[in-house]
Symmetry: C2
Amino acid sequence: MSEAKKIRIAIDAMGGDYAPFSAVAGTVLAQKTYGDKIKLVLVGDQARIESELKNLNAGDLPIEIVPSAQVIGMAEEPVESIRKKPDSSIAVALNLQKNGQADAFISAGNTGAVMAASLIILGRLQAVSRPAIGAFFPTERGAAIVLDVGANSDCKAQNLYQFGLMGSIYFSKIFGNENPKVGLLSIGEEQSKGNELTIASHKLLSAGDLNFTGNIEGQDILKGKADVIICDGFVGNIILKFAESIDSFLGELVRRQVRVNLLAKIGALLLKPAFKDLKKNLDYAEYGGAPLLGINGISIICHGRSSPKAIKNAVGMAVTMVEKEINHLIEARLAANGSFVPSEVKQKQ
Amino acid sequence: MSEAKKIRIAIDAMGGDYAPFSAVAGTVLAQKTYGDKIKLVLVGDQARIESELKNLNAGDLPIEIVPSAQVIGMAEEPVESIRKKPDSSIAVALNLQKNGQADAFISAGNTGAVMAASLIILGRLQAVSRPAIGAFFPTERGAAIVLDVGANSDCKAQNLYQFGLMGSIYFSKIFGNENPKVGLLSIGEEQSKGNELTIASHKLLSAGDLNFTGNIEGQDILKGKADVIICDGFVGNIILKFAESIDSFLGELVRRQVRVNLLAKIGALLLKPAFKDLKKNLDYAEYGGAPLLGINGISIICHGRSSPKAIKNAVGMAVTMVEKEINHLIEARLAANGSFVPSEVKQKQ
């Protein structure tokens, strides 16, 4: 495949709790997995990246390094840090995409900074009022995408409608399910139940052309009652963080039991492979990362604790997003819906 | 103990998925547990209650029956059903309390109807702007109370402040912890993080006299970072329902593993007693029910699927609320805080 046709992905080498190791090792894994069809670019401290590549015996792989001199810490104030550090790995990598030298961006760094920089540097897609972060949740039937999980604390009904539209397109292209069910996260199934936001959103969604299945409740998420679950970023973020904490809570309870009970200990050993499979079902790394949907480009936010495997899977996610032209589809669908999701969106542009 | 000094508790025999069995069996269990110090009153269909008591060989226990002719179904519209059915078991039982013939009310029936009827019949405590439902969550350190979990979808900062105050008093009297930590459920630890409601609430809580530990995030709930967790009833209800669904989700995943793996099956058998203890940790029945805090009386809402044990534990909860004079403490503390949680509350009365 010619260099020009390859899918070019810029990866933030300096972001995440295990930087630069996880990003570099994940990039190596991805290069070996996807080979010829991708061109990977690691952005960050050149000497440290080269040293990690050497440790991994990966010096011969066709991975490019673009140096950047600054790093945005995990706890830094997002907008402020973007302004103060124009040569951060996040900004440099996103500018590659802006200038046409990359098709996608992946980072396990400061979520707020990645989000803010993506918005500032790449901008929004035309007609999208608020980009949203989509996160996969495991369900009894497979997986669901929940959005927004943190980009927008206070939302309007139009925003939630657009989350549903973007999530539907994304879900259908990732899983090959052409008509995913869209559920509005609320309290109570009736359209009159919920808060001011969900009651207004229910009306908009009922009038729209998504496969809207109505309100779903907290207990319906893991049951897989909807494929695309929409909510404001405040509720979505709390549910996501709560869900991510269940694993360690259960682990702690099981450890306490096993400590005082020998038979339980033997049982736990025999069940270990099954637990491992179970954990895999709950593991965010299986999904790679959370896409920031609605920006004029591709930006995938990975967990700060991302393993190399998670980074590799995020590369796979980026490849799918480029190949399936997700952004083009979102724009086309929003343009067709112009008369329906109206004034507020137009005013904001 | 003289009849007059006994704690009198009215129990809705007709509410819940297993009515009247669960309520009657739970009442019998409670009578045997608390004996002389309580007087229990079952409200509902006299013939069915008598028949259940007979099946349980409990005809000799000093349990009173107050007949009521109507039943509010689990799916009926709350306010409408209260208006249309003045002789429902819920209304009759609450009127016993209003007229001084009972000190507390317990129901596993229609949550919305119990809430609406409690407000209509008993009213609010002076200075409480919005009553809230508090639910216990298990944590790595014991238990936390989350409120509101469903009474108020849209809240103001003053409401959340009062939830924190009521929750603190309740938690301290139930667990004997005089200075429980109050956490504001939000996204991000900094006071500037969250939505409009939490940012305003953070200011109010910081200025107040509760043991406020600042914002907590979704992952902090099960870690036990706060004893009293405050949020609006929309967020709280979604988190509660999500948490209640984890058990069946994990059960389903484990069943799938065990089906295909013999060693895992043996392991699961050996681990069974440990799993049982684990389940107990996650079981709402251990806590009995969720109190509706802020009303001028005592009303405890039990899960629709409540077992007799859950009803029995709710009776224990009611006894504690009466003995510790929770409502008196809430009123006293709010009166002392009069200058601080001000105009909005006063206007609403």
